[in-house]
């Protein structure tokens, strides 16, 4: 079943990418082409095959010590240096809930 522009608008909201109406039309055509290209993979939804999520198969989650690592930790100044807006040693963001909240 083909994706509609309305479906793609919903995906764009979820992906946090504001698309113009023209972009939405183009993106819908692309999404349908791309999903059609993925069709061959559906034949592999086989019950007796174990999925491989990672090329190094026996790797499990690796946790490091919860400790400072001076060789690699960024200073506060360095961490803020690429931010679009910062104030008082923190990242500055607009209102999370909107102006009226």
């Amino acid at each position: 079943m083909a994706l509609t522009e309305n479906d793609v608008r919903g995906i764009a909201d979820y992906a946090r990418i504001a698309l113009t109406d023209d972009e939405l039309t183009e993106m819908t055509a692309y999404m349908n082409d791309a999903v059609a290209m993925l069709e061959p993979v559906l034949a592999y939804n086989l019950p007796d095959i174990t999925p491989t999520f990672h090329p190094i198969g026996d790797l499990s989650n690796v946790m490091r010590e919860d400790a400072q690592a001076p060789a690699r930790d960024l200073s506060r100044e360095a961490a803020l240096s690429n931010a679009g807006a910062a104030r008082d040693g923190s990242f500055r963001v607009p209102s999370i809930l909107g102006e009226d909240e």
Partner: protein
């Protein structure tokens, strides 16, 4: 008598610096001159950093003057793909999103090259966030193929490949998520290696597909690529990348082992690959020249099958976009990256920063990934793709029980013209021969085999080895290089003729 900088390999430059024939500063100036003379036509770089290069070269010269033992690549200029952090440079991923992003630290793979004595001359152009096979999706400018500037260098590491092919640097680093080292190497007539996943640390390389990404080197000779591989793995496992593995620095040794011949070695050919629709006769003929070179050195050619590899492109375009969407979610316009001004809410700021910071293909991949990971769709596609991955990996294991390596094309055709492939899903087919290795994780190398009889453009063959047997790629590629070269032991193709000797000299 002056020597043209671009006629020298990394091995020769390092030997000249070590013996005092040239200083590292003289070599750095020659590289910067070579870049300046060629860059207007090639556009391989998004930044050139003369101060950084000369400072690194001065450190090499000071070490030599102090009588210190020089590292193996001391004074060798290197270009770095612009998705790799290097302190003192911006790391833009050729995206407006990161146009002003200053590297806060240095990637391990870059640091290893610096530790080996390399001199970083600049950051190489690429497809935006490595999404592409042409480098045309760079937000800043395209890169031109040095063999024909109307054509693309391939991608996504197109700047890294073109810089080496044009004689601007002898070595460069790239990254390969679906073919992004091997495909541009093939189209530009240089050697490009994607090591086994885990062989080279990914720390400090901007992530695209975390289970697929692998960094590796470009050079004009297999020996130079071997020297770069030794530099990349010599520091051992990187504690900053939990998938990093210990790999022995035995690549230069593997290049020398080619002299012993290949008696008793078996090389696989995949009939379905050699007869595939879309493979041009001249690429096929080039791969058969490589096969003849291997056979002449004593190897036996054996037919093998990889029956599930047909699913690789579809599996990749599930796994890759899904991982890309997860990774690129971090670009929210807050901590770094483009920030849309004048937004009243955080959600609006994120959506508009991402809409205006990312280019078209970066948006397409993330949209596809977002869809594939959405509820109801995830079970259908994502699990199927990861099961296809199991079967593709098993295919390679079965084949490698019969052969030491597999020989195949790197790309179906020679370099295409800018704009010639405009449909995104058609572009994805450029990686038909490279993509299954990123799925399975094992390593591959693209090695030049001369020019195509129809196009007159560079042709290449790809060798594939089992996981963590990458040194075999170097041995076999050296045999192909020597077998295909007019003068033995030298580059098959060398610098693209239009740029050879066009600036950058060593007295």
């Amino acid at each position: 008598m002056a020597t043209s900088f671009d006629a020298l390999t990394a091995a020769q430059l390092a030997a000249g610096v070590a013996s005092g024939t040239w200083s590292a500063v003289e070599v750095a100036h020659a590289a910067l001159d070579a870049i300046q003379a060629r860059e207007a036509e090639v556009q391989a770089f998004v930044q050139v950093n003369p101060e950084l290069a000369l400072a690194a070269a001065e450190r090499v010269d000071a070490a030599r003057a102090a009588g210190e033992a020089l590292p193996p690549l001391a004074g060798v200029p290197v270009a770095i793909k612009d998705n790799m952090n290097l302190t003192g440079t911006r790391t833009t991923c050729a995206s407006r999103m990161l146009e002003n992003y200053e590297s806060p630290y240095t990637a391990t793979c870059v640091q290893r090259m610096l530790d080996a004595g390399c001199v970083p001359v600049g950051k190489a152009n690429m497809d935006e966030f490595a999404f592409g096979s042409s480098t045309d999706s760079s937000a800043f400018h395209p890169t031109n193929n040095p063999w024909d500037t109307a054509r693309v260098p391939g991608g996504s590491s197109g700047g890294s490949a073109a810089a080496v092919a044009a004689g601007m640097v002898p070595l460069s680093l790239g990254s390969d998520t679906g073919g992004s080292i091997r495909q541009p190497a093939a189209l530009c007539g240089v050697v490009g290696m994607k090591p086994t996943y885990g062989a080279v640390s990914r720390y400090g390389v901007v992530a695209f597909g975390s289970s697929l990404d692998q960094a590796g080197p470009f050079g004009r000779t297999v020996e130079d690529v071997a020297l770069a591989m030794d530099a990349l793995v010599a520091g051992g496992r990187d504690a900053y990348d939990s998938t990093s593995q210990e790999v022995a620095p035995s690549f230069a040794q593997a290049a020398r082992a080619a002299a012993e011949g290949l008696a008793g070695r078996r090389i696989g050919l995949v009939p379905a690959f050699m007869d595939a629709e879309g493979l041009t006769p001249e690429v096929r003929a080039g791969v058969m020249r490589a096969a003849a070179a291997l056979e002449a050195a004593g190897a036996e050619l054996v037919e093998v099958d990889l029956p599930h590899v047909d699913a690789a492109i579809a599996a990749y375009y599930v796994i890759g976009p899904a991982e890309a969407f997860s990774n690129l979610a971090r670009f929210d316009g807050i901590r770094y990256g483009y920030q849309e001004p004048g937004c009243t809410t955080l959600a609006q700021q994120s959506a508009r920063s991402r809409a205006h910071g990312f280019g078209a293909e970066a948006k397409r991949r993330q949209m596809l990934g977002a869809y594939l990971l959405s509820s109801g769709v995830y079970d259908t596609y994502y699990y199927a793709a990861q099961k296809a991955r199991t079967l593709i990996t098993a295919d390679y294991a079965t084949a490698f029980a019969q052969v030491d390596a597999i020989l195949m094309p790197a790309t179906p055709h020679a370099a295409f013209r800018h704009g010639e492939i405009s449909d995104p899903t058609q572009m994805y087919l450029s990686d038909m021969y490279t993509i299954s290795l990123n799925i399975a994780g094992n390593g591959g190398i693209s090695v030049p085999v001369g020019l195509g009889e129809d196009s007159g453009l560079p042709m290449a063959a790809q060798l594939v080895a089992p996981a963590f047997a990458d040194e075999r790629l170097i041995t076999f590629a050296t045999v192909i290089e020597r077998g295909c070269a007019a003068a033995s032991g030298e580059a098959v193709l060398g610098v693209a003729p239009a740029f050879a000797g066009k600036g950058g000299e060593l007295a």
